[in-house]
């Protein structure tokens, strides 16, 4: 930012928002220097809390006028640095645009502002017989706007699909300052699916200010089971068998012994701590068909070597079990001062293989790795434990994580199933995509975000290669000084 013009931008923003909806002193902006990904930090120059779309529009216009980068942020639960203000500038925080504007059960949609916390919508729908299906593990805190940006998943997306499958339309402020609606409450608007493009674009194409989401009928019944295994290999075999038999449970999660110990400390659920792995399997649907399906799943688990398949059908027990599962990442704090959660994906038939490789990689680098997987869709979350105060451990953790992701790519998988690329995974983009692929992506980004002021340094590498942030042509975005102790230690 051209320093001399900053006071006048600030004055304009103040005039727009008033002092109550803006933070501009350093002491109050420090908390916005990072999100759930803490390895890199950078303080924004000003934090705005828009109250409605018109505020967002004006903020974007001002950023254009003053040639300043800007970035939307929801609850800041990204694990990939999606909310890191790489170029400083204006952080647009959506926590005050949190209204559920409409719930229409007959037409099965709701209209929400981006700052609505995922679980608030679920709560608002309680008792209606409908729910909003995407249930990321952070749903108690993360916002739907953030979910749209990263195309969030969650345990139950195995059967019901991820965020993009449940978004009908968005209203967005484009980088030219116009407000545009894409899609809407009906289905099948003609032409290319721009809603599908915007979902998961990690805030690099437009700033979403309203979302039309699909509501899903609640299942009539559940069958929840815990498959207890004496070896991780047997558990991953069982997953492969279940899917291979054409059974798609509502959710199919795996937790290894390391994570079980942490969860047991946190929630005292009563997990068998001598088990090497547990499968959390949930079937849902019509009561009439569920017992039959459960029997098949139980038989498959047993054939794969399950020690026991325990039922967890009691609604209270079921809720507690899901709470344990969803808070698994956080519970790692009990095992280690720092951790790095990875988010790879492999074809489901490759789960036994990838798990064996993860164990080997952990041994090679001398780091402890615990695992909690969205096993049913091949989305693995190896969690590498380390102490951020010990540089050699930081390096080992990052190297091990990198090698696991390389292995995912080698298996025909991906380096992110739900957390997004953010700043964290940029170096992998060139490994996952060809220069031609990246060129098309960069052109699309430029079509929406030609000056590169919106969310600079995210999602895509520059043509020069990995790691470097997007340096937009034409714009006077300052050279970004980034602090990344973790990566620096690793290099």
């Amino acid at each position: 930012m051209i320093a001399s013009r900053f006071p006048s931008l600030l004055a304009e923003l103040r005039r727009l928002l008033g002092d109550d909806h803006l933070l501009a002193n350093h002491s109050e902006m420090v908390v916005y220097e990072c999100d759930g990904f803490t390895i890199e930090k950078n303080c924004p120059d000003v934090v705005c809390f828009p109250r409605h779309t018109a505020d967002v529009q004006r903020i974007v216009q001002l950023c254009n006028e003053y040639d300043v980068p800007y970035l939307p942020r929801g609850a800041g639960t990204s694990l990939a640095g999606g909310c890191l203000p790489v170029g400083g500038g204006v952080l647009i925080v959506f926590t005050r645009m949190k209204a559920i504007e409409e719930i229409n059960l007959r037409d099965r949609y709701a209209v929400v502002q981006p700052g609505v916390v995922n679980v608030w919508l679920t709560n608002a729908l309680k008792g209606t017989g409908f729910h909003y299906a995407p249930d990321p593990s952070s749903q108690g805190a993360c916002t739907i706007g953030g979910n749209v940006a990263t195309n969030s998943g969650g345990p139950h997306t195995l059967k019901y699909g991820v965020t993009v499958n449940h978004v009908l339309g968005v209203e967005a402020v484009l980088t030219d300052g116009s407000v545009v609606r894409f899609g809407g409450p009906a289905e099948d608007y003609v032409g290319p699916d721009l809603v599908g493009l915007l979902v998961g674009s990690e805030g690099t194409l437009a700033v979403v200010t309203k979302v039309w989401v699909r509501l899903t009928r609640d299942p009539q019944a559940y069958r929840t089971m815990l498959g207890i295994f004496d070896s991780v290999d047997a558990a991953t075999q069982a997953i492969s068998e279940i899917i291979g038999q054409g059974i798609v449970p509502a959710a199919l999660e795996m937790m290894d012994q390391g994570i079980l110990i942490a969860l047991e400390q946190a929630f005292q659920f009563g997990f068998p701590l001598d088990a090497q792995a547990i499968l959390l399997i949930e079937l849902d649907g019509l009561e009439a068909g569920l017992d039959e399906q459960r029997d098949r799943v139980v038989a498959l688990c047993q054939a794969a070597g399950a020690r026991e398949v325990r039922r967890a059908d009691d609604p209270k027990e079921r809720l507690k079990l899901w709470k344990c599962r969803k808070q698994a990442f956080g519970a790692i704090g009990r095992l280690s001062p720092s951790y790095c959660t990875q988010d790879g994906v492999v074809p489901r038939t490759k789960l036994p293989h990838i798990f064996r490789r993860i164990t080997e990689i952990g041994e090679t680098y001398g780091v402890r790795i615990v695992n909690v997987f969205h096993a049913g869709d091949g989305n693995i979350h190896p969690i590498v434990l380390f102490d951020e105060r010990v540089p050699s451990q930081v390096k080992a953790a990052l190297d091990a994580s990198g090698e696991i992701l390389e292995e995912c790519i080698a298996c025909g998988g991906s380096v992110t199933g739900e957390h997004g690329i953010g700043v964290e995974k940029i170096p992998f983009m060139a490994k996952l995509f060809t220069p031609g692929d990246l060129d098309v992506m960069a052109r699309v980004r430029d079509a929406f975000n030609a000056d590169g002021r919106l969310s600079p340094g995210k999602l895509l590498p520059t043509a020069a290669g990995c790691g470097a942030e997007h340096k937009p042509h034409g714009a006077a975005v300052p050279t970004v000084e980034r602090s990344h102790p973790g990566r620096r230690a690793a290099l």
């Binding site: 109050e28 420090v30 908390v31 639960t77 108690g140 805190a141 808070q327 990442f329 009990r334 720092s338």
Partner: protein, 432 residues
């Protein structure tokens, strides 16, 4: 790193590992009442921990902005419930605020007249408080408060005092003090001491009586030590550590002879259960012993096994989880289980029951704006259930919700779960 001040860093005495427990995942944010209202990360648990850690690290000065965000914390500990990493937030914010007050920059007096004369001078002393409230009581009886309100005279009182007057219950109770000993009814199953509290014994003496009677009904000899003191929470949470310790040590002495100390105010219970690690001196072990024998009344009756009450109470009620019971003491199921035994009672779920009502000890007096927002939200949620009675096991919540209902002229009955249990044992009906 820069040293911003020559004064001791407020984070200096805090075990740094407690900061490191926070992995910055953000799952706590939406559980925090102040963050839900302001949407400002600085008003979230994750943000406050970040602020405290930044001050401790010397990255940030302890300026007024930082102070304000830390002071806005209700200390309701909802974040501890939400935190999967087991961050002990209370152990960070409480000592930090104490140190913050001691290291004040001189730009603000740490304990002004209100703290000195009202919070510390009056509240912890039931006798003084009763005397002080006598004019209010008389004023109530003769409708003078209502009149003052109508004439706008109330506005002449300082704001926080006005808050206090507004918070007073409609009718101050006039029961006699509890005797020192109440014998068990039927087979004797336990011998317990009752902690009567300070504000509680003035405003809710009827609940103390109800608690004693319910304990008797359940075969308990009840001892009410005359020389017991305030639990010290008001001082401690306002950063006055030494007076708090003196009160605690007085209680260690008063309750030395019994095995169980029964508390019916969640805030006091949480304090008594926590006293073991606040001060590291010779008496720490004795305090730990008192903490270990402290039980909330709901928790105790559930452990003991409740004798089924028989009086039918046909009422739809909802239960509000007091923060210091639910979040701080993790007591959520027990009161619901006890209430479920009352014949005829229909207990309905309260939306956002885990969200603080805004009372939070003396928070409603020190942060009236945020408190009022939360209180409004709480009553809205209560009204949405259609219940005619709200039950909650903490004096602060009872006063706060009652006040909100009174202001909005909602005819709700607001009571302690034990009040209702007592009515059922006595085969009497609630006033709704």
């Amino acid at each position: 790193m820069h040293a911003f001040s020559a004064k001791p860093n407020p984070g200096a005495g805090i075990d740094y590992e407690l900061f490191l427990d926070c992995v910055h995942c953000g799952l706590c944010t939406a559980s925090c009442p102040t963050y839900v209202v302001t949407g400002n990360e600085n008003d979230s648990p994750r943000g406050r921990i970040y602020l405290m850690r930044s001050v401790t690290d010397g990255r940030l000065p302890l300026n007024n902005q930082v102070r304000e965000h830390l002071e806005l914390c209700l200390d309701c500990r909802a974040c501890e419930t939400a935190c999967p990493s087991g961050v002990q937030y209370g152990k960070l914010i409480e000592p930090f605020r104490i140190a913050m007050d001691q290291a004040h920059d001189g730009d603000r007096a740490p304990h002004d007249w209100f703290h000195k004369y009202v919070l510390f001078g009056l509240f912890p002393h039931p006798k003084r408080l009763r005397w002080a409230l006598l004019p209010a009581k008389l004023a109530q009886r003769f409708g003078i408060l209502r009149g003052m309100e109508k004439l706008g005279l109330m506005r002449m009182l300082p704001q926080r005092l006005r808050q206090l007057v507004y918070t007073l219950p409609e009718k101050l109770p006039s029961e006699p003090a509890l005797p020192e000993f109440l014998p068990a009814i039927g087979r004797r199953r336990a011998r317990v001491a009752l902690f009567t509290g300070c504000v509680n014994d003035v405003m809710f003496r009827h609940t103390n009586w109800a608690t004693a009677r319910v304990l008797q009904q359940n075969g308990c000899d009840v001892i009410v030590p005359r020389d017991q003191a305030c639990c010290g929470a008001i001082h401690f949470h306002a950063g006055a550590s030494d007076p708090a310790r003196r009160l605690v040590d007085a209680n260690v002495k008063s309750f030395a002879e019994v095995d169980r100390v029964i508390v019916n105010v969640a805030g006091c219970g949480a304090m008594l259960k926590d006293i073991g690690h606040h001060w590291h001196d010779d008496a720490a072990a004795d305090r730990t012993a008192l903490a270990a024998k402290t039980r909330d009344i709901n928790e105790f009756l559930d452990e003991l096994g409740l004798i089924q009450p028989e009086g039918e109470i046909n009422l739809t009620a909802t239960y509000h989880d007091a923060c210091h019971l639910g979040h701080a003491q993790k007591i959520r199921e027990q009161p619901r289980k006890l209430l479920a035994t009352i014949p005829g009672l229909k207990l309905v779920d309260l939306p956002e029951t885990e969200l603080c009502c805004g009372a939070a000890g003396t928070y409603n007096l020190t942060q009236p704006e945020m408190s009022a927002i939360l209180s409004r939200r709480k009553l809205d949620n209560i009204l949405s259930t259609g219940a005619r009675a709200v039950l909650t096991a903490n004096a602060g919540c009872l006063l706060q919700i009652a006040r909100e209902a009174r202001v909005r002229r909602e005819p709700l009955w607001i009571a302690h779960p034990i009040d209702l249990l007592d009515l059922s044992y006595r085969k009497e009906k609630p006033p709704v």
